[in-house]
């Protein structure tokens, strides 16, 4: 009755490849250690190969017994070795259709398709590219048709925030961002991990440089020990460079031909040299956006732009195409010129205004950022240098200095800005500054915190939570004026809901508002 379809025969090759990858190591291990295992090695080798054969046979049978079809508003996949299961997703609830292609897929021009709805997902491995595209287009078309008919049948339009197809060509697709090889290299050089590694490295050398002469003073300070120190230094620099080189190489393989497309209301990220991956994000599903800029990026005039989405899916599958979904933070533009960001931002997330934040921390708050950590560092280092290690105060002094610097940064840079429907937080971190943009209608809760001490000096903290990944992210403005706390509090506590609510949802908000108001009057 329904047009049942089968997976592409290439599936046999791709599953063989993935099974082989997981079985190859035990087989090689047993085969090469057979001489030492007194004959057991051969048996184990044969056993491994047999198990591999059986598992692959099961894969073949599963392939033969797997069919998929479209039935009304359901997309169904039937598979199973002995007991056949039907798994289905509602077409109208499809959030994204992503694909990934590893080397074998690419060699045979095939695709692994992943159809996601909130809370559920179907993986089809593998389809020919042509079939995959056709299926994606068909699903897209059906979804639109169903949604249109649903809209007509109900008087109130339904909120639709779950659709989007990476393979779709139905809408107009524009590539808004690409990264060349040089960009990827730049990104690695300016990356936070390199700076952190470098700071630790330099710090370690400095501390040891201070300690070594003392430690070696009693021993002969011979030419040999000096060369030893120099060679150790050179070696560690070499290791550092090597690690950096390997890291860059891996990053290039992972991010090769990185590009961001905009299709209707969906963003698609595509990247990869050996394995090509795509990830689709519904723009209306974006909860918050933020920029992170570290010192090096600031000097060079670059910044990083990320978006935060929710995920209610248990990301157990490691081969998931999505990047960092469990945390919900997706780095959309890994490296972008600060000057160009505004234009790109307007194109990618038009619902965000993204006003720059104003620093607001009063001078009398400065000490509050540092007093507690400073006290801890000083007392801890004094204690340790008194009891355990006489040089511990050096570390304590360095850390105290860094704490003071950090406190100064926090005082200078912590800030916020309010616009009608959006709040901007600027929060300094140790080596970077984070600017978070949150829409009021996406905020889960807002808390003003005060202790009697803070109250006395008219200061306070404001904490805001927004959904991210499968939980929430919490951002806090510390030690700002009480008047600012009040301003933010009152801004959040409006009696009127903002009219614009994501996209495609403009008609439903007033009804909520009206209902709430009518209840109040009752």
């Amino acid at each position: 009755m329904y047009n049942e379809k089968k997976l592409h025969p290439i599936t046999l090759v791709t599953t063989a490849y993935s099974r082989l990858v997981s079985f190859i190591w035990p087989i090689i291990f047993f085969a090469f250690s057979s001489s030492r295992l007194d004959g057991f090695g051969l048996i184990l080798t044969v056993l491994s190969i047999t198990i591999f054969g059986l598992v692959y046979l099961a894969d073949v049978l599963r392939f033969v017994r797997t069919t998929y079809w479209i039935e009304g508003n359901r997309f169904v996949v039937k598979s199973g070795l002995f007991v056949q299961n039907e798994k289905d997703v509602q077409i109208t609830r499809i959030q994204s259709i992503d694909y990934s292609e590893d080397i074998v897929h690419r060699f045979f021009n095939a695709t692994k398709l992943e159809i996601k709805t909130p809370g559920k997902g179907i993986v089809l491995d593998a389809l020919s590219k042509e079939n995959a595209l056709q299926l994606a287009n068909q699903l897209h078309f059906l979804k639109e048709t169903f949604l249109v008919s649903e809209r007509k049948s109900t008087t109130e339009p339904q909120i639709d925030r779950h659709s989007g197809f990476s393979l779709q060509k139905a809408g107009v697709t524009r590539t808004v961002y690409t990264m060349s090889l040089v960009d990827i290299l730049k990104m690695n050089v300016m990356g936070g991990s390199v700076i952190k590694g470098f700071i630790v490295f330099v710090g370690a050398i400095n501390i040891f440089g201070e300690l070594i002469p003392d430690a070696l003073f009693d021993q002969a300070r011979t030419f040999v020990s000096q060369t030893a120190i120099v060679s150790i230094l050179l070696l560690s620099i070499g290791v550092f460079l090597l690690l950096f080189f390997i890291g860059s190489l891996l990053s290039i393989i992972k991010n090769f031909e990185y590009k961001v497309d905009v299709t209707n209301n969906y963003l698609t990220i595509e990247k990869g040299l050996l394995e090509v991956k795509s990830q689709t994000i519904a723009v209306a599903n974006i909860q918050s956006v933020w920029e992170k800029q570290n010192w090096v990026q600031k000097l060079a005039g670059y910044t990083t732009f990320s978006v935060g989405i929710t995920s209610d899916e248990n990301v157990a599958d490691k081969k998931d195409t999505s990047e960092a979904t469990e945390k919900g933070e997706i780095i959309l533009l890994p490296l972008v010129k600060t000057k160009q960001l505004a234009v790109l931002r307007a194109e990618i997330v038009p619902q965000f205004i993204c006003q720059p934040a104003q620093p607001v921390v009063p001078l009398r708050s400065w000490r509050r950022f540092i007093q507690v950590p400073l006290l801890i560092w000083i007392s801890l280092s004094l204690l340790v240098s008194y009891i355990l290690w006489p040089f511990a105060w050096i570390i304590g002094a360095v850390m105290s200095l860094l704490t003071i610097l950090y406190g100064y940064r926090s005082y200078k840079r912590t800030g916020y800005t309010l616009s009608e429907a959006e709040i901007t937080f600027q929060l300094p971190k140790f080596i970077s500054t984070e600017t978070v943009y949150l829409r009021r209608d996406r905020i889960l809760n807002l808390t003003v915190k005060q202790t009697p001490f803070l109250k006395k000096s008219h200061l306070g903290k404001v904490e805001v939570s927004s959904a991210l990944g499968d939980s929430a992210q919490v951002k806090q403005l510390s030690f700002i004026e009480e008047a600012d706390c009040e301003r933010i509090f009152n801004w959040f506590l409006t009696t009127e809901r903002s009219k614009v609510y994501g996209t495609g949802n403009k008609d439903s908000s007033p009804s909520i508002e009206a209902m709430a108001h009518s209840r109040v009057h009752e």
Binding site: D441, L444, N445, R497, A516
Partner: protein
Amino acid sequence: MYKEMPTKKLDESVIRYERTTNVIESFFTLAFFGVLMFLTVRFDWPKWLIAIWISLPVADFSVSVFLLPYLKLKSVRYEMHPLYLEIMHGLFFKKRTLIPIERIQHVVVKEGPLTKKYGIQMNVVFTAGTEHEIPLLLKQEAEELRSQLIERIKAVKSDV
């Protein structure tokens, strides 16, 4: 707005529940210091320690029975705004939280033998990643609040 405190206060009678739980907790403190007392006598530790072992639980008991319940009673307030639920709590670290009713996903009621005896309910409000407790409401008051909340949640159509 910010200058106006949330209107609803806790009922005076919930103080009895708070006091009872604190008395029960004090017994554990008492047991702990009893053990210390025993050890002091048994192993001939300095005698002045006994003074501490006696005075500390007494201080703890009097504070947690006579002072803390009153402070807690005073510190907790809440209010249902048209679109928001406001909760104020905290003795030293005072917090005022606004939760848009749109964002509330479900409400959990916590009950135990003691809360039942005193006719009290603990309500926890869940959003898509945070939870907030409205402590120590009288049962009837809590049910009223919950039905109001649920009614308004039903009106909400967004799903995150």
